[in-house]
Structure formats: structure tokens, C-alpha cells
């Protein structure tokens, strides 16, 4: 059976998890504890030397990168996955690719930074976040949310139009990330709130809430990280990110 190496604290892991579950694609959930640094084990290194998740193992074929995994699943299960998830039509497909490309260094990058600054920065770096750093991160997140609303969503029900696609799944999990730290990217944005409601409905409310449970238990994270055997490796990786 296909294996998915996941930690639901990670947005791209949630995107793959939600898609596979919602579409009834069978897989074995292999937990990789990111805060404990399990991605740095030599065992995991054989799956992916980049030491990141999600990772998919389908028979002898191993694949990293959530957007690549999602596209693989769509292509492999094309018989049962509705076209709207990743439309074959030239322009619709281009719009999906446009979002999936843009989001890496924009919505994802900025929401991730806010989340890390709010949860793990002090324990990793050994000092509190400077106010100007936090403000800059929040401003970048705001600009990305503005673009999501004004360029990608506009007045449509979903990013590609009337129906949900992988773009919506990839987007929503990122905005959910800083929520558990008290930064609500949806606040004051009724359009996004309505869109999230629609995405939840399409995926399944219970499934969506289950996937996001890990985000609601963040207070124990700093302590868990501090006592991790791989603290130095996690620290190095995060320092690079904050660079």
C-alpha cells in the first residue's frame, strides 16, 4: 500500500492528507515527528535526504514535495478523481499551476514565518523576536492574503471558479497555520471566511477539523523541541530559514 510520511503540524502534509482522505485514496500513515527531529534520522534520510515531509512511497517509487505528490495522485487516480481538482483544460490548468507556483515563496513562506516566530523562535534563537521583525512578517502575510483575495479568488467560489481544486486545499492549510498562535489571517476578511467554509464543506468538516487538531496544542512545542535529541539540527535548519 502507498505510504505517506506525514506530520499534521506541517501545512503541506495536511494538504496531501486532506486530499488523499477526501478522495478515498488508500494509504498508510507513517508519522514523522518534526519537532522531535525524526526527519534527521538516517532511516528517513534514505527516503529523502532533504529531510522534509511530506514524502510519498508508492511501491519502489519515492517522491517528495507536496505539490508534486498531489499532481502524482491526480494523475495516477485520474479515473476516480474529478477533473475539477486539477482541470485538464488549458487555461484552468494554467491558473492552478500559477497558484501552486506563486504560493511557495508568498502565502506559504509568510504564514510559515509568522508561525515559527510566534512558536519556536525564542527557544531556537535564545532571545525574543524583535517587534520590527514580527511586524514585517505580519505585513508580508497581510500582503499575500490581499493578493489571494484580489487576484486568485476575486469573486469566485473557489480559486479556479465554481469548484474546489488542489489550489484551495494548498492555500487553506497555510492560512490555518498561525491561527493556533493567535494570528487569525481570516479575521476581517469575510470573503476568505466564506471560502474556508466552502472548502471545509467540500473536504468534509470532520476531516478538516481532525487534520488541524495538532495545531491547537502548540503550548508544549517549545519544551518538546528543547528536549529533542536533534535540537541542534532543527535549530540549524530554522536559523537558515530566519536568515
Amino acid at each position: 500500500m502507498m505510504e505517506l510520511y506525514l506530520d499534521l503540524i506541517s501545512p503541506p502534509c495536511r494538504a496531501v492528507f486532506l486530499f488523499a482522505k477526501a478522495l478515498g485514496i488508500p494509504f498508510e500513515f507513517k508519522y514523522v515527528d518534526l519537532i522531535a527531529g525524526q526527519q534527521y534520522s538516517s532511516e528517513f534520510g534514505e527516503l529523502n535526504i532533504v529531510a522534509k515531509i511530506p514524502v510519498m512511497k508508492d511501491g519502489g517509487f519515492t517522491l517528495s514535495e507536496s505539490t508534486a505528490i498531489l499532481k502524482y495522485l491526480v494523475q495516477k487516480y485520474s479515473g476516480s478523481v474529478g477533473d475539477h481538482w486539477f482541470p485538464a483544460g488549458l487555461q484552468q490548468r494554467a491558473r492552478a499551476n500559477e497558484y501552486l507556483s506563486w504560493q511557495h515563496a508568498n502565502l506559504r513562506g509568510h504564514c510559515q514565518k509568522v508561525f515559527l516566530l510566534r512558536t519556536l523562535f525564542p527557544v531556537i534563537m535564545g532571545f525574543e523576536v524583535l517587534e520590527e521583525t514580527m511586524d514585517a512578517a505580519l505585513e508580508n502575510m497581510k500582503q499575500s492574503l490581499n493578493l489571494l483575495e484580489e487576484k486568485f479568488l476575486q469573486n469566485k467560489w473557489f480559486i479556479l471558479g465554481d469548484k474546489i481544486s488542489v489550489a484551495d486545499v494548498v492555500a487553506v492549510v497555510e492560512i490555518m497555520q498561525p491561527l493556533g498562535t493567535g494570528v487569525d489571517g481570516f479575521e476581517g476578511r469575510p470573503k476568505l471566511i466564506a471560502w474556508r467554509g466552502r472548502v471545509k464543506e467540500e473536504l468534509g468538516e470532520e476531516l478538516f477539523d481532525d487534520a488541524h487538531k495538532a495545531l491547537m496544542q502548540l503550548s508544549s512545542l517549545p519544551e518538546k523541541l528543547k528536549s529533542s535529541r536533534e535540537f541542534e539540527k532543527v535549530k540549524l535548519s530554522f536559523q537558515r530559514f530566519f536568515n
Binding site: L63, A68, N97, E98, L100, W102, H104
Partner: protein, 241 residues
Amino acid sequence: MALELYLDLFSQPCRSVYIFAKKNNISFDFKKLSLLDGEQYGEDFGKISLIRKAPALRDGDFCLAESIAIMLYLAEKFKTPDFWYPADLQQRARVNEYLSWQHTAIRMHGSKIFWLRLMIPKVMGVEVPEDKMNAALDDLNSSLKLVEEKFLQDRPFIAGDQISLADLVAIVEIMQPVGAGLDVFEGRPKLSAWRDRVQEAIGKELFDEAHQYILGAQESVKTMDSNKMQFFKPKILRLFM
């Protein structure tokens, strides 16, 4: 109306789109967008792309941003040879994997070196602290190592025996720090051999044509007006320093 591509060849993703279109004999109107002059912030360009970045495509009424989306669109519309974006499930996945990973890895690190080594000190006149430079070099070296050890391994190209969009996107990013005077190929025979194969597959003339501006960057910064950069200065310094 002919297909329009809004490009500035100083920019890596513009180069990959340019090379892809030219190599595949896709006719287009080259609409020069000067990023350093801030043309992406103009009212006209706003109608093409609210993201305000290059490259951008306009095909009739249809406007598209993001180089990868653009190349995939062109590949599909003009039915380019299969090897660029193989239909095979696993090969396509390998290409997608690279195209995804590179955004926040080699692309980011190569860009940073270009700004820290050249633009910020030479055009903006701001000194770059040594520790910042070293950290950026470390990051670039890590990314280059991953290109060799994870994405290439023993294969001639990223997806296998033939060039694909993955190699094209990779090479234009790796050339950016070269433009800043950093020879990333030195001491990396595997990467150098790959570069030679990629250049041959693209065609040396086209490759050189696309890279003439970036490779002339060290010269052109000498006459670049630092006042132009005032508008960007706070944003660039926040981003890279």
C-alpha cells in the same frame, strides 16, 4: 494579436521562459519589462499581472504569471516534445518535484548571493556584513549539493536521459550567482558536466544570448544609476539583510 511575453532577462525565471519559447520556435512579442526601473509597478502592467512580477504572458484575453505555469501552458498549447514535461507518471513527478523544491532553495539562495555580492554593495552602496555573506554562501552550497546528490545523482539530466523543464529552471537559477562573479561550477565536476549537457541540449547560441545581460552585470553595475534603486532599497534590505 500575437502572444506576448513580458520579460527582463536579468531575471532567472524570465530566462527560462525565453529559452523555452525560442527553443520550441514559439513566436511571441518580446515585451521588455525593466525591473530595475520599476516598470512592473506601472498601471499598464498591473492590468497584465497584479502579482507585479516578471515573467508574464498575455495570450489574447488570457494573462498568466509564474514562469512554471507559463512554460507548462506553452508546452501544452504548442505540443512541445514530450521530454520537456514527460507524460510518464514517474518522470513527470520527478520534474514536478524539482520545480517545487527549487522555489525556496536554489532560487532563493542564488538570488540572495546576486544581491549581496553585487547589487547591494555596488549599486546601493551598502556594505554587506561578512557573517551575512557567509551564511548566504553556506545556503547556496547546501542547495547546490542537493542538486547534485538528490536531483541529479548519476543521471545525465534531472528526469533521466533527456533535458526537461527541471534542468532549464535549474540552470538559469545557478547562472545568477555566476553573474555576480561567483563561479559555482569550480570544484564541481558533476555540475559542470551537467551544465555542458544542458547548454548543448538548448544550443549554445541561444543559451549565451539569454545570459548575455546577467553575465555582463558586473560591468553594467558600474554605470547603473544608484538613484533608481532608492525606491527598492528598503524592501531589498529587509528581504536580504
